[in-house]
Subunit: 276 residues, 2 copies
Amino acid sequence: MTNIAICAPATPITREQQAALEELVSAEFPGHRVTFHDQCFERAGHFAGDDLRRLTALLDCANDPAFDVVWFAKGGYGSNRIAEAAVAQMNAAARAKTFVGFSDCGYLLAALYRAGIGQSVHGSMPVSARSEGGREAIRRVLKWLGGDTSGVEPSLDGTTPAAAFNLITLAMIAGTPLMPDLTGHVVMVEEVAEHLYAIDRMFFHLAGTLPRLAGLRLGSVTDVPENYVEFGQSEEDIARFWCDRAGIPYLGRALIGHTSANRVVPFGLASPPSRT
Amino acid sequence: MTNIAICAPATPITREQQAALEELVSAEFPGHRVTFHDQCFERAGHFAGDDLRRLTALLDCANDPAFDVVWFAKGGYGSNRIAEAAVAQMNAAARAKTFVGFSDCGYLLAALYRAGIGQSVHGSMPVSARSEGGREAIRRVLKWLGGDTSGVEPSLDGTTPAAAFNLITLAMIAGTPLMPDLTGHVVMVEEVAEHLYAIDRMFFHLAGTLPRLAGLRLGSVTDVPENYVEFGQSEEDIARFWCDRAGIPYLGRALIGHTSANRVVPFGLASPPSRT
């Protein structure tokens, strides 16, 4: 039995999303049990409860030895505001756990990875359980938690450490006390709903701040808003351009992003290659 | 006679904007002469010419001893892509010049200030010459260049060094090779057309990366898009919150921003207090 606690460090989910995930788990993953923290459904302005409430719920889940996994319910924005305090207050039980999420929850994955607490894993989240595509992505996480690595990002080779981030999230982490040492890593980045000029700007920032990477892979870049003028370069042109300027090997695309194709990326060297 | 060269390190302006500025200068500032570089009107995708073209035009203006001032025509996005190369190729004539602009052109002001080249000045730009409010803001720059400091940001006291930036611009500069040492400075920030959650996120980044400041002032935050939910804090709440977390004295508002109230902020200690 894998015991999975779910909390919302950024923005809230709905009871319908909870029900959809519970249905999926009970129908297809009898070896897993999911427990939603009540905090997942609360709201304070933009957030799923104020900072202290979200921090407390995260610590309830992380520090409870009854749980094996903490799964972040949804991104949005807000986990950065509690990440440092959360890491500082985690106990021995937290250090044995797996933490799963992506997008805005990358702040927590980064802080945990930096602190060497548990296993950070980029993967889809409970909020997506109401669509067929979302369930496909969620199944990869649930399978991975059960030892089936078929949903792992296919480029992972088990010999080069990896990490995966939303682009603006990584840009905002770089240089702060949350930033892990990504030297020698393959870093994968994805983005959603940002203009191409903003993507170029974030690559500029990362080109000037990232350490010596083993390489960079570009995930999907979706829902790019239309601008008053064509930017003139594609997202892959932009990634190549800045990798060239920064001396980072550009390794091609990765199957991560805000899509149903989103694959699992365990941070570091946690995962063997995907077997299909 | 103050000889002012105008180029566009980011995005292009129109001939109508040129004509409006020339009319204002000839009608009200007979002691100034403005010379527009042809590059101001070129376009390559998003930019006013490709990187090499924009770089060359900027160096034409900066390195020509005939000019006293380089005035950036417009922001938008793109000066970050040429800032490092520009600073590396500037000559002794550039070191005697004043450089004026704001918004995206803050990348250049930062790089120049870091390199100790000339005098960086936050001020409105030629692109705004077609509206009465824009002309008001532009007059402050032209007056300041003529020795009339009435348009200087009123909080400048001549004893604490200052700098002014667009928020996302400063967030993207922080930690990169363009970043000047702002220790002991009063830093003023303004923003336009960003969601409040994105403003909160940028303050998070700056709280984790800025050095020990003398203080922070918040300029105007305009054209905030509506989000699906109220953020729950005003822009000033956000600035205070992150200043408190980072141990930065919050000093109140500043008259800078994407508005006709935009004041002149000479970087460092260049300016005496404003006299009205």
